[in-house]
């Protein structure tokens, strides 16, 4: 259909740009410009900045090569990109364990961890880091996409290619484990949605 893709990229949705890039590959550059920093942040948090540089670039190469598989009608491309990035994280799980171990050792955490309210909370965070490292990979992926990246359960489901119920149960199990490790210092669990809030 002629004119189907005649829409300015700055006004177009991610889905429209991906669709347009099937005919005009260079249009995919807009997806890169919009989301590279976000994906780089995600990978840097999970694997460190050095790996993030290479892997974030790889995310967009993979996405470009597989863009024909992007589900038509979907407007937001981020969950799909997070899914690709998460797969790359899994391929580098050793690096993630090393990073988490380093963070756990730095109980003061000033160089790695954010400013905390007290030395006690810094100690808790070290415990939390170790607990995070002890989670199985699928639970950690779901939990961190939710807690760190603010993805809703449905977005995580799209990212990981699993049912939404599976996401909910993975997150619930992961949180239960963290609370056990923290010795009940956390408050009662509740199903807080991420920043996306689009369940």
């Amino acid at each position: 259909v002629r004119g189907e893709f005649e829409v300015s990229d700055h006004l177009a949705s991610d889905g429209e740009i991906v669709a347009a890039s099937l005919r005009e590959p260079e249009r995919f550059a807009s997806i890169f410009e919009r989301h590279f920093a976000t994906i780089h942040h995600y990978l840097a948090r999970r694997l460190g900045e050095d790996l993030a540089d290479d892997l974030a670039a790889q995310v967009f190469l993979v996405a470009f090569e597989r863009r024909h598989t992007f589900r038509a009608g979907t407007t937001d491309v981020r969950p799909w990109l997070y899914g690709i990035a998460t797969n790359l994280v899994r391929n580098n799980r050793r690096a993630e364990r090393r990073l988490l171990a380093a963070m756990g050792r730095l109980s003061g955490g000033r160089d790695v961890l954010p400013e905390t309210e007290s030395a006690a909370s810094a100690g808790d965070l070290a415990e939390l880091t170790r607990a995070l490292a002890a989670l199985n990979q699928t639970q950690r992926d779901a939990l961190l996409l939710h807690a760190w990246e603010g993805l809703s359960h449905s977005e995580i489901a799209r990212s990981l290619g699993v049912p939404e119920g599976t996401v909910a149960s993975r997150i619930a199990r992961a949180r239960r484990h963290l609370r056990q490790v923290l010795g009940g210092t956390g408050s009662a669990p509740h199903q807080r949605q991420g920043q996306g809030g689009k369940t």
């Binding site: 002629r2 004119g3 189907e4 893709f5 005649e6 005919r23 005009e24 590959p25 260079e26 995919f28 550059a29 890169f32 590279f36 920093a37 780089h40 942040h41 840097a44 948090r45 900045e49 993030a52 540089d53 290479d54 892997l55 974030a56 670039a57 790889q58 967009f60 190469l61 470009f64 090569e65 963070m103 790695v112 961890l113 954010p114 905390t116 909370s121 808790d124 965070l125 939390l128 880091t129 995070l132 939990l143 961190l144 939710h146 807690a147 760190w148 949180r175 963290l178 609370r179 923290l182 956390g186 408050s187 009662a188 669990p189 509740h190 807080r192």
Partner: protein, 462 residues
């Protein structure tokens, strides 16, 4: 404070990606985009040679009356000072006439649709080549599909009157792979190819395509991939080719293919895939090829890079040219004389308005980047420099809702500034451009009408 809140505290604040990270990632993606475009866009249209070819009258050229009207309009526009706005890309016209090749328009000379039909297909590249040794003689050849995955190069179309009439010229055998035709003069052209049994053969015509003499090519070429041939006389030719097992090498003949001597290429060329070769009668040769990144997958996927070689003794010995690192694929290379050459080279970030070329003034020994202002940033299909100031480039600048955006652009300062010419209506992909003299250029292109597309020959000038 619940576990999620604590977990968010654990989220380290990382700095934004560095400019270097942005640039590297952009470049990697851009290469992927360009590689897909360079292979996909031409292959979106497939050419099929018509076996039942018959001589036919040429397509009607614009009538004298129409030409007069065009001239009148141009004169009026110039007189009124209403020029095309600068920077409008495809619609921007060259200023016309001041210097050698700079023409404002191209005219349609021949419709070759009775020889080649265009079939929509997304799987094969058309491989269209044009060789114009003189201002009136051109040889056109394309792949001829025998089946979906088998291609042949057995037919040529030849014109000796500037495209007004064409004759068919058939090689005695069908080739599964071959070099583009290298022509010395209007009557003498050669190609090196692989026949159906996998043997390399050298073909030469010395009567303008009426007949072809066949001799065995270098035996090492069986199943060759990547090839470039350049002949400086009817007897002297150089080929840079890659065999099926060994690295690429140069092969030289001084007796019209009766014997061939092999010359190794520098180790840095590695498994390079030869894509371009040009030699002069003084013995200067320049060859370009592409290789995969020797470091393999460095997190950004395998990246192709180019290597340029030069020779000062007719291909007997070769050295690696001094060129900027990180070059893209120099699929187009043109030398105006034994010293001055221009090549498509570096890739620029996606969306960048800049296009970079490489220029050499020492016979290919060293190359400098040239910012090619006004030249579209990708999709260059042909480059021809008949003298040390003038060049024409052919290519496609992308896709829009009306189809491919083909262009022909000229430079009068050897690549620094370019101006796009007006093309006849419906020209979507100029495949190749050849300028046998400083005032005559031809281009082989696809022209799309309402329901079909056809292969046409264009000539520069109003």
């Amino acid at each position: 404070m619940n576990d999620l809140t604590r977990l968010r505290e654990l989220r380290t604040e990382v700095p934004p990606p560095s400019p270097e990270a942005w640039a590297n990632a952009r470049l990697a993606l851009q290469r992927a985009v360009l590689e897909e475009r360079d292979t996909r866009v031409p292959s979106a249209l497939r050419l099929r040679y018509r076996a039942a070819h018959r001589p036919r009258p040429r397509r009607a050229v614009p009538s004298v009356l129409a030409a007069a009207v065009v001239v009148l309009v141009v004169v009026l526009v110039v007189a009124l000072g209403v020029g095309a706005p600068k920077g409008t890309g495809h619609q921007e016209s060259a200023t016309g006439g001041q210097h050698g090749l700079v023409h404002s328009t191209w005219k349609l000379v021949s419709d070759l649709s009775s020889s080649w039909s265009v079939v929509s297909d997304a799987s094969l590249e058309p491989g269209v080549h044009l060789a114009c040794p003189t201002s009136s003689t051109c040889y056109a050849n394309t792949l001829t599909d025998l089946s979906r995955y088998s291609l042949s190069y057995s037919q040529f179309e030849v014109t000796h009157d500037g495209g007004n009439t064409w004759q068919q010229s058939n090689l005695p055998v069908t080739l599964s792979a071959a070099t583009p035709l290298s022509c010395v003069d209007a009557d003498t052209c050669a190609t090196l190819g692989i026949d159906g049994s996998g043997q390399s053969e050298f073909f030469e015509t010395t009567d303008g395509g009426e007949s072809w003499v066949t001799v065995a090519g270098p035996s090492q070429l069986s199943g060759m991939i990547g090839q470039a041939l350049w002949c400086t006389s009817a007897s002297a030719c150089v080929a840079v080719v890659q065999g099926p097992k060994g690295p690429a090498a140069a092969y030289i003949t001084s007796n019209a293919g009766a014997t061939w001597s092999e010359s190794p290429l520098p180790a840095a060329f590695g498994d390079g895939f030869p894509v371009s070769l040009q030699c002069s009668s003084s013995g200067a040769c320049v060859a370009a090829g592409v290789s995969e990144n020797p470091q393999g997958n460095v997190g950004l996927g395998p990246i192709l890079y180019s290597t340029i070689l030069y020779s000062t003794d007719g291909g007997a010995t070769w050295a690696l040219a001094a060129a900027p690192s990180g070059l893209g694929q120099p699929i187009s290379l043109s030398c105006a004389d034994s010293s001055d050459c221009l090549a498509r080279a570096a890739t620029a970030p996606i969306g960048a308005a800049r296009t970079w070329l490489l220029a050499s003034t020492d016979g290919g020994a060293s190359w400098q980047l040239v910012h090619a202002t006004g030249l579209p940033s990708s999709g260059l299909t042909g480059l021809s420099c008949p003298d040390t100031s003038d060049c024409w480039a052919s290519g496609f600048g992308g896709l829009d809702s009306h189809g491919f955006q083909g262009f022909l652009a000229s430079t009068a300062d050897f690549g620094k500034t370019w101006q796009q010419a007006q093309l006849p209506q419906g020209i979507i992909v100029p495949f190749d451009v050849q300028c046998p003299t400083s005032t005559t250029c031809y281009a082989l292109a696809l022209q799309r009408s309402a329901r079909s597309a056809s292969l046409v020959l264009l000539a520069s000038g109003n």
